[in-house]
Symmetry: C2
Subunit: 275 residues, 2 copies
């Protein structure tokens, strides 16, 4: 039987900003008993346009902060940080498990469309690092992969313009660029935590047969499996607590974060921390 003290420790979730709240929301839906602590490094967002060296340094500092708080598992809910720094963060947190968002998304896409063609929508940095391409090709050498940087989708998600004419036209333009030369993706992987908000609009712009892989849901499933196999799953008659930390701009965190969380957030619920 596992140590109940460990079971009660929260799952740490870290992102550069509010986007990772889509991952928190998915974990909370999958595992409502678990305590969750979320750290958004809003003082230094976005990571997606920074250099790998800076991203790795920021991710290490954020991880240290959560480790000091006491957590039982770390979720790197930022595609860019997962792509750059996952191995370093695993060494830092050892022996505790560290789960990034790239592997779960790649695994789900490959499992659903073996030998298929996959389109990854992501930030510039994630595309430049080729993390999804590598993860998919390792799992399925027969797969075909294209990666498309879509910076404007981040702004659309933050502005809350996730439906309607402008969202469809922007998505259509990126898909047209990505499918040039008759590339027909069988899956589209949402390789940025902002993009689940645009999932319906992306599905509408792609054909019905295209599978949209939402890395928030796939990551939550991996978290659940890991806690079960580590026997640190918390089973309680009280719902888990949610705690939110940010490195800057708690008012904006609350306002924009509510969209990603799918429920209102008040700025009094956000603790300002230094890294």
């Amino acid at each position: 039987m596992s140590d109940s003290k460990d079971n009660d420790l929260p799952i740490g979730i870290f992102d550069s900003g509010v986007g990772g709240l889509t991952v928190l929301k998915a974990i909370n839906a999958e595992l409502p008993d678990e305590n969750l602590v979320y750290l958004g490094d809003t003082a230094r967002l976005p990571y997606g346009t920074k250099s790998p060296a800076s991203i790795a340094r920021y991710a290490t500092q954020a991880t240290e902060k959560l480790k000091m708080q006491g957590i039982k598992l770390l979720v790197v809910a930022c595609n860019t940080a997962s792509a750059v720094a996952l191995d370093a963060l695993r060494a830092q947190m050892s022996p505790l498990p560290v789960i990034g968002v790239v592997e779960p998304g790649a695994t789900a896409a490959v499992g659903a469309r073996p030998g298929g063609s996959h389109l990854v929508l992501a930030t510039e940095a994630t595309v430049a690092l080729g993390a999804y391409r590598r993860a998919i090709k390792t799992l399925d050498p027969a797969a075909t992969v294209r990666e498309q940087a879509c910076e404007l989708l981040v702004a659309l998600a933050e502005e809350g313009w996730t439906e309607g004419d402008i969202a469809s036209k922007v998505i259509r333009r990126y898909l047209d660029e990505a499918t040039e030369g008759d590339f027909r993706p069988e899956s589209i992987i949402l390789g940025c935590t902002h993009f689940p908000l645009l999932k319906d609009s992306i599905q509408a712009a792609a054909s019905d047969e295209v599978l949209i892989v939402d890395s928030a849901n796939t990551t939550a499933a991996v978290v659940s499996d890991t806690l079960r196999s580590d026997r640190t799953l918390r089973v309680s008659d009280k719902a888990g607590t949610l705690r939110f930390l940010a490195t800057d701009g708690v008012t904006r965190f609350a306002r924009i974060g509510g969209r990603f969380l799918g429920q209102p957030l008040s700025d009094t619920e956000i603790e300002l921390v230094d890294l």
Copy 2:
């Protein structure tokens, strides 16, 4: 007669990223003899969504870096930093002149449309700070001012999608929001250094009689007047040199920066510096 050593010192220009290159371009066009040194704090961009305390700290560090290099005048080519920290930066650089982008834009708008109604398009932070409203109302108490946050325009400018259907629809949507309740602006002030790239599309979306105030051009005119009155204008038969410093991501700086500069930039021309 002025000291020719001072005359040869560069003008320092500082911004959170590449947007201020629109101001550098305007200064270079107005004063082609001047040496210019540009510092983009790309490691910490965007300032537009950060808290005032962080913005002030970053601006002070960037100013110190340029001061140590030796400059004769500082241009704060970032609306957010101008709005938050101009007084502090003036104290830091004293007795050298410091020129922000807010006052020149406000002065130009008020001069052209006395007692008029003005719409300021800017980032969230600039709008939250109300710097343009204050500057305009101080100059012209009879003026009417509205400020509209337009984060998506930043992304459009960086993506290079400055013309066409998507740009017009996004601009139209922001103008519709801003003009609700029958507000009819006589001037539109581009209160973010990214927005001069969208000037034609903004003019097309507004009516022809609306004056678009480009703070890059208005700031360059104030720089020119200041150097003349300080007798530190450089008059030479050699064109001034341009030097570019960035705190992160020189490749991206070169690629995106070229759009703002209106000419190609190579990443070998950008020096990486720490603040």
